[in-house]
Symmetry: C2
Subunit: 170 residues, 2 copies
């Protein structure tokens, strides 16, 4: 199954000149969705993974079924202000300005092994910030997985110290 062909290019979204990689056409196909989850999850079969951490909202679409399949728990990494209890926060740079990601302070116990999952790596800022959150709480990042890599943005270079796995590269 050619998963790359099931992803739609939408030109000029979210702004002019950007070609958006739209996964909705892939995930609405039961076999495409299943295969994308399986390829990502099966890469980690046999490794000890306590928790899968994913960044809202699209990261949850793959991260939650991967956690389910691997028998791990799930950490909902959120944008600022959405988690109700005490949090840790990490900022990361955007093209213009900054954004931030948050985790509950009690999301991870020291020594737990964490797999980070997102649908797509562009500049790698949110994944790197998520890895810092994991380490702040004493967790160990055992891997970072993306369905899609925008290779021309070189985001993986920001994650050099980690074991990164990507399925589809553009």
């Amino acid at each position: 199954m050619d998963l790359a062909k099931m992803i739609r290019d939408v030109p000029d979204f979210p702004k002019k000149g950007i070609i958006f990689k739209d996964i909705t056409t892939l995930i609405k196909d039961p076999e495409g969705f299943r295969e994308a989850v399986d390829i990502l999850a099966d890469h980690y079969t046999g490794q000890e993974i306590d928790l899968v951490a994913a960044v809202e909202a699209r990261g949850y679409i793959f991260g939650a079924p991967i956690a389910y399949k691997l028998g791990a728990g799930f950490i909902a990494v959120r944008k600022a202000g959405k988690l109700p209890a005490e949090t840790v926060v990490e900022e990361y740079e955007l093209e213009y300005g900054t954004d931030s990601v948050e985790m509950h302070r009690d999301a991870i116990e020291p020594g737990q092994k964490i797999l980070i999952v997102d649908d797509l790596i562009a500049t790698g800022g949110s994944a790197a910030a998520t890895a810092r959150l994991v380490e702040t709480l004493g967790g160990e990042v055992v891997g970072i997985a993306f369905l899609i890599e925008l290779g021309f943005l070189h985001g993986v270079e920001k994650l050099k110290e980690y074991d990164v796995f990507t399925v589809i590269e553009y």
Copy 2:
């Protein structure tokens, strides 16, 4: 396993007087997460379900693994302005003002059978709006499932015409 005991009450979030039902303490527990997904998914085993539709972001945490387990596709219902291609939109009322949910116009083929999933039903506005989106596109709502029901808000009454399943009632 008492799933209700694994959900944390956070008082005064998002504003004073509201007790927030925090699922992060449930989903970080591998067995709690697995059991929550299994109870919801197993309720529909044997029913024909083409697609699971869930509302961002917490709805994806249960909706995506349920779709995976049932062998269905997944529809990412989003808040306004986040989907890249042509959409259909439905507004719903909040305590003050309105909010809206969107689906891609090509998310559903006429006659497809759709299960709607969310983590929690409060007033039922976003679930009812999602059901209208499904019907606008010619889909059939075969069920609406929530892990948590805030019974005192009577949201299920807004969904009277549908088959609603909830696991934990407060």
